[in-house]
Symmetry: D2
Subunit: 113 residues, 4 copies
């Protein structure tokens, strides 16, 4: 594969993983009790997908402290952060998902390297 083509494909694959993670798991019941197992389960899902070499998922524990009267909440975009590294034929791309509080938006950005 040509260098540029590999770079693009790596970027594409990184995007897939973040879009998938977000839309599969937003809404899942979460509290301080199961945040860790959820993070690990989410990471296990990303790891199965093609080209993934590294993945880290974090649920914001601070935001779990004052949830509903029921002691848990639904996972919301402002609680979820992730970082995934994919490698396509030697070309790496890193995708980052992070809540942007000013934009009120779960921003996904690409880090090339």
């Amino acid at each position: 594969m040509a260098g540029e083509e590999k770079d693009r494909k790596a970027a594409f694959e990184a995007g897939i993983k973040l879009g998938a993670l977000f839309h599969q798991f937003i809404g899942v019941p979460v509290s301080e009790k199961n945040a860790e197992i959820l993070e690990k389960a989410m990471e296990s899902c990303v790891k199965l997908q093609p080209f993934v070499v590294e993945v880290e998922v974090r649920i914001d524990r601070e935001k779990l402290k004052s949830v509903s009267d029921m002691g848990y909440t639904s996972l919301s975009p402002d609680m979820l952060a992730a970082r995934v590294v994919v490698e396509v034929d030697g070309s790496k791309a890193e995708g980052i998902l992070e809540w942007n509080d000013e934009m009120k938006y779960p921003l996904m950005r690409l880090v090339c390297r």
Copy 2:
């Protein structure tokens, strides 16, 4: 089916529909532009399911007015309301999903009739 058994089964079926609706669609990209088609699509999904005789889904337009800088948001529990009526062998049950602002919780409740 005995009367009590039918009543319970109707209640069970109403619960299934609300749980399904909520967890399938929370997270979906939404704005004032597509709120109506999303409502209709969600209703169409509920109608396909067994025992359903009526369904109404509403996305809170007020809450769509001040969303992210991107002009849309992810459907969140506080925006979604629904009402479903199921009928099992003549026994009806109504399930209602409504955001409870005091509890900070998407409350689902059963109305028997």
Copy 3:
């Protein structure tokens, strides 16, 4: 709460849990490698929800043996089984989700007790 009312509410709550579980997790990337952690994560989610006293989630390992060329698949309805017991004010209801191969349908049924 009157006896009948509690029975119905328990049935309703059992239904919510099964509908929620199914529609939250269908589509999640799964293989033999992460089936166990996914089961545990799913159980942890159900346990957080109100009235739940017992829950068991199973992903069919046999069906994971011959999946796609990519070594994993998306969790599909025929792979997922669950059993949840809820208790409302002393009244218990059990909901069971099990793939029915003849109907080609993920059947959810209520066991009262």
Copy 4:
């Protein structure tokens, strides 16, 4: 933005959209009755997302002909096809999602142009 950087970012954005679409909607109740409104609702969701200039979603009607005894099914990966075009600062990327029957896999691929 440098040319290469824009190309990569466009590819990344195309990937996000396909991953999001797939994992948000797999599992949704579908039959010939609501396939069209679901397609339109899915397209409306993708259109809201940043950088999208074109989107087309198709649910395979043939596969809806022989579903469960209940007259509907859950949307499965082999039924869903999509094509999305994004544009980042003049650079376009096209992402395609199509079931690959030999691989038994919902393949997502990038078309650069």
